[in-house]
């Protein structure tokens, strides 16, 4: 890492002592923007919303930098802001029913590029189709989980976080995280089984 680039610890120190400059913040954005965008895509599956909320996430972090107390890492703190923004967005979207009436439903889009790779192990076209449909079922189910279940599920299986990290990010007890994760997994599994039996 170049000398001019702050280490995570340095950034954390600066943020805690409220001396993080605009340049330092640019570095924070550069370091986290892909992960935040990816998280928001997993939570929302909406490119425009993920892009806008990623920007909003860093802007909010900048405005609220004085409130950062260093209880968690900077990354966890930024993740928490992103999750809260996604939650607010989902709620406002649920409230605005008409918006869904006129917008494209992302779950209907086919994710062929990924699924071609995923299904490459399968010998026949039917297996590929089945794998593609199952991934689509996961997307569909994730969107219909409760806020807490969806957040825990995404942080666990899309972001590959440990249960501890999830607990810190969502400010939950580990037992609560496990409980939400179990329910989410049960729902996803049930949906997949139904899909397999329904074919």
């Amino acid at each position: 890492m170049a000398d001019s680039v702050l280490s995570l610890a340095e950034m954390q120190d600066k943020l805690t002592s409220s001396v993080l400059t605009a340049d330092d913040f640019d570095e924070l954005v550069r370091r986290n923007q892909k992960r935040i965008f990816r998280l928001l895509m997993a939570l929302l599956r909406d490119e425009d919303a993920a892009d806008t909320l990623t920007q909003e996430c860093f802007l909010r972090a900048y405005k609220k930098r004085a409130s950062f107390r260093g209880d968690s890492s900077v990354d966890t703190w930024v993740y928490r802001i992103a999750v809260n923004l996604a939650r607010d967005y989902q709620r406002s979207k649920r409230e605005g029913f008409w918006k869904r009436m006129f917008s494209a439903t992302p779950e209907n889009e086919e994710d062929t590029s990924v699924l071609d790779t995923v299904a490459s192990d399968h010998a026949d076209a039917e297996s590929q189709l089945l794998a593609r449909e199952e991934v689509e079922q996961v997307w569909y189910t994730v969107r219909r989980l409760s806020d807490n279940q969806r957040e825990v599920f995404v942080l666990r299986y899309a972001e590959d976080m440990s249960l501890d990290e999830i607990a810190q990010t969502l400010e939950m007890q580990i037992g609560t995280v496990k409980s939400h994760l179990n329910r989410a997994l049960t729902t996803v599994r049930k949906r997949l089984e139904e899909h397999r039996h329904g074919r």
């Binding site: 605009a22 954005v29 923007q33 965008f37 895509m41 990924v114 995923v118 899309a158 440990s162 599994r189």
Partner: protein, 146 residues
Amino acid sequence: MADEMDDRDLKNNDVKSTLVAWRESVDRHAERPDWFWARQRALVSSRMQQSRTRRFPTLAWAGIAATVAVGIALIVPGDKPAHVTPPTTTPNHELRAQISDHELMQGLEETMNSGVPDALQPASTLEQAMEQANTAVTTSKVKESR
């Protein structure tokens, strides 16, 4: 991701492979070209700058108002002089100690003999000049009438 949840929930079932496929699907969804990230950084930076400048006018106006107020106070002459040096007052008992009665009497005598206080000397000079001029004019008129 090898901990108890994996063991308990994903072992020996094919949900795991589907979840791995789903994660790769998330990766693909989030993949963007470099220009996208650069544009996003520029937008964040510009919005941060906006939020800074939005706060600036309040401070700027406060500063400008303070400067103007000080400027007005300096420019407009007040009733009181700008610099008033307080007179250095010496307590009476010290004066008494410093100046003896004899010196005091001498000073008083000199003042009485000088006729005009120092502060009025220019006026007395002017008065003398005017008197001289009047005398000269009167003398010349008397000579003419003769």
